[in-house]
Subunit: 229 residues, 2 copies
């Protein structure tokens, strides 16, 4: 297909396609004659991954290039490409302020408790440790009591995440990495939403003090938005 | 204590304290004579909650006022105050674009599967449904396969969240609501970080294709940041 068709098929503008070609994110098409270059389905798939990396994952063009290079290096084990993609998607969450040694030690202890075998300073550890510091700074060190339950839940989510990656099959490197990027970046929001729903369910189930005493208040709860106007 | 001491104790500037007094977020101190007003420990606790609502929870002053009014209304069951606080902390995550009916139906089905008793359109449902729409828009409807596992994990996290609220004791309404706000808002980041760590653990455990073949690549994985420079 011509570049105009590639643009239509992928939903990426011709200008952006040319930019990605110049920046080395998208491999060149095949010159069928002096004035015409042919693109194929692999270009459509690649463009979709590029947009996932940049638009969904929030990667810079440089970071996207590094992830794409990992996919293209057939000698590089997929787990490495996976690690690169995961790191890149997490990078924007890592604060420029380093967490305290105490908070990092707490996360390390959690890894030991759960038998998690990971390298030192997985970017996620820095993100989690900063929250532990924030609890402390807000005068709420008691809130770290949630850590074991959160870690158990994180492992359940991680297994589901990896299942979607493995379902792609090892031959599809591009699609596997796309799955890591899209699943990791969007999964945060999915979990956040479901957590809110589960919180309401558990709060009602526990019958928080007074919750069953006043039907009118229950009805008010049914649409708390009204109260925030 | 005088307002200057209250400022030191709470870490909130005198100008901000006066603003919160004018806006009705902070109750007035006791006038001990014509020129002096006394503040107490309850003002320190209240200021801490106000900052948690605004700085940590991302609430507008108006939304914070609604949550504080719920706490102050002793006739209002704590579950209502809880619902208000949870809704307020979630409001910023709700997209202005409504999710599709299909995505909402998928989340409703999930609630039925898990036996979750919640009112229609908990804000978390809208957040989760929008992610289901995004999977579809990215050509990855297969990723909704993670929903049951995410819901199971969300319930584990929600139980831990509610445990921290109940640990405060029903008499401490201010502190209970502070726990909801701080725990809900910061807990998202904590879970996100732990999810990344768990993902790496599970990926290594599953031995993703090639992961055990090349020690050099494993070492490279140990600090993928090097590859992103």
């Amino acid at each position: 297909m011509r570049i105009s068709t590639l643009s239509e098929e992928s939903g990426v503008s011709v200008a952006s396609i040319k930019y990605y070609l110049r920046e080395g994110l998208l491999f060149a098409g095949e010159a069928s004659n002096a004035t015409r270059t042919e693109y194929g389905a692999e270009h459509v798939a690649r463009l979709r991954l590029i947009r996932a990396l940049i638009d969904v994952g929030g990667l810079s063009v440089g970071a996207a290039r590094a992830v794409l290079a990992a996919i293209d290096d057939a000698a590089m084990p997929i787990v490495h490409a996976f690690g690169l993609a995961q790191h890149a998607v997490t990078a924007s969450l890592v604060s420029s302020t380093a967490p305290s040694a105490t908070a990092l030690a707490r996360i390390t202890a959690l890894k030991v408790e759960r038998g998690w075998q990971v390298h030192e300073q997985n970017p996620g550890e820095l993100v989690a440790a900063r929250v532990v510091d924030a609890y402390e700074a807000l005068g709420r060190p008691d809130l770290i009591a949630v850590l074991p339950a959160y870690a158990e839940a994180a492992e359940i989510v991680a297994r589901a995440d990896l299942d979607t990656v493995l379902a792609v099959g090892p031959e599809g490197r591009t699609r596997m990495v796309e799955t890591v990027v899209v699943g990791t970046a969007l999964g945060d929001g999915l979990f956040t939403g479901l957590r809110r729903v589960a919180q309401e369910h558990v709060a009602r189930q526990l019958g928080l003090p007074g919750s069953s005493l006043e039907h009118a208040a229950e009805q008010k709860l049914a649409d708390p938005k009204d109260d925030l106007s």
